[in-house]
Amino acid sequence: MKKITLALAGNANVGKSVIFNYLTGLHQHIGNWPGKTIEKAEGTLHHKGYTIDVIDLPGIYSLSTFSIEELISRKYIVEEKPDVVINVIDATNLERNMYFTLQLIELGRPIIIALNQMDLAKKKGICIDIKKLQKFLGVPIVPVIATQGEGIHELVHEAITLVEKGYKKPKIEYGKEVEKEVQKLTKSLNKIELGYPKRFLAIKLIEGDKEIRKLIKEIDPHIIKITEKYAKNIERIHGHDRFTIIASERYKIANEIAKDYISIGSCKAKYSDKLHEITTHGLWGYLIMIFSVLSLFYIIFTFGNFFSDILIESFMSLQTIFEQYFGTEIVSSLAWGVIEGLIAGITIVLPYILPFYIILGLLEDSGYISRIAFLMDKFMHKIGLHGKAFIPLMLGYGCNVPACLGCRIMETQREKLIAIFVTTLIPCAAVTTVILGLVGKYVGLVWALSLYIINLMIVFILGRIAFKVLPGEPTELIMEMHDYRIPHLKTVIKQAWFRIKDFIYIAFPLIIVCSFLIKVLDVTNLSVSIENIMKPITVGWLGLPVFTGIALIAGIPRKELTLIILAAHGGTTNFSAVLSPVQMIVFSLVTMLYIPCIATIAALIKEIGWKKAIFITVFEIVFAIFVGGIMFRLLML
């Protein structure tokens, strides 16, 4: 069997994952790049006697080493040498995309261009002379409409042809002065064997790329000296720094390509432009945002409540059957504890988290989330983050685990840490069921809503403190806002699934183990002594009944368990009989803040290391108890 490896590379939001899905179907594996917390998607397909491995590289704008994603992509292409790199580009945005294409060509692997979103380009009146562009670049171009699967077959066919017939390296020259120095330096690199093409190394050296500079310096420090001379020479001629000069050169070529090979027909103001205008408007934009976020929550929790009630009811009938067969002895009761853990997980994922992530994904893919990020940028800056951090924060309302992992989109370690910290304070779907089931049901929806507002205030204040305490400069927002488009359902569902998979793999096993341990406490009556130990805090400081102690402990594996345990230990599901309204509010507030659940702690350890994870955990426990006690005293006034 002959084997081929294809790598998909391109800017963000050009439809790479849609093409990846079409190519590999269900045969895909999502993991991480070794040692990195960046997603790596791999898959296989079979075609004409070939086994074709496909790798989806991260979406990037450049091959400099500004971000880990760029470094990973570059290293992968050079070290793993994929047979063909498929460069996915957005036909409606040729100039920006060409900037990346030119760098890919410099990396020297055989390239095919997948010119995607041809349908949108046509609608915009953009005509691209593919034949001439192909000739200019010296790279095969396949027009593609990924969302409809058009051109995917041709892409594979073209890749195989390229492998069988061989690839002639295209050469694209820069402006005269720069080109001269690049060629001189390329010659001096004659003896350097690093796996990178010489011309690429020369360009990167002149550009001032730290990574390449380090590599070359170890081999031949003399070359660094020559580079300095050449680069200074160019800087003197052009009057800008070296990086800017090289970037300008590339964009100049990209701009010429856009000018020479594109003709634009009549363009009237489009529907998507008007939508953009109104959703980023200083007043309407915010109103639409508030309305859409509130309705999102309303729909999810009304639907979720209804659906989860049905699920719980049908599972509870299982318990009766289980007890009929196995009795209620200690062993079978413990076994039921394990099953109960599984059930509880399912009744959170299916009714709440899954639909929430699907709708969020639809908003993301359509382009609306980047508009929200634009609107929220100012507020996020107050806590030292920029608009993009709004995305993981929103994810947090579903489940904190994928939200923490979602904080990887932040540019620096410091921002990631702040984002993760505030994310763990966001009430997830499980906490919301507690708040709605306790405060919402017995005290009133206004009070439930107030808890969310208090929570937002706390997020803001703590975020601001974290921002002031942690050293370093905040990064500012630089974000592309692509045109609105109709979201691609398959990609959205896949995305939702991968986010939930994080939850299932990390949370489910922990939840089951902990549910079992809680059951052990219960069966052995240890829970009573724990409740007594906690008395000074629960009764003395928080003003809660003794039996809430064990319920709070039960919230460590999963927050929604607090309600179940509360019912079991309070002896009734009518909570108004055992808790006063003030106690319900205090209890919910503490549950909301007091500890990231065990699965989130695991995610924290994975993302920021155990030291910081423990710090956040301990801090939040102390803080929640402190705030709860204050709240109790305020409400008793």
Partner: protein
């Protein structure tokens, strides 16, 4: 031609030519990678009193934080 001013001071709808970026290496690299190179035309689409400003450059829309926009030197196009 008039004196260079910072991008943040442009009004909505104004077109300008980028002169240079007065920022650290990191910011400059990110901006040039996104196509904000010297001599490029840039149009301000949205600029409120606060929050990021929205610009159109090389045929696509970008949101840029105000802090960064205060480092981009431009010449207003007549």
């Amino acid at each position: 031609m008039n004196n260079p001013i910072f991008l943040v001071n442009l009004k909505e709808g104004e077109k300008a030519i980028i002169v240079s970026i007065r920022g650290g290496a990191g910011v400059t690299q990110r901006l040039t990678d996104m196509g904000l190179t010297p001599d490029t035309e840039i149009t301000v689409i949205k600029s409120a009193f606060f929050g990021p400003i929205e610009v159109s450059v090389r045929g696509s829309k970008l949101a840029i934080g105000r802090g960064i926009a205060a480092k981009i030197l431009v010449k207003v196009k007549e």
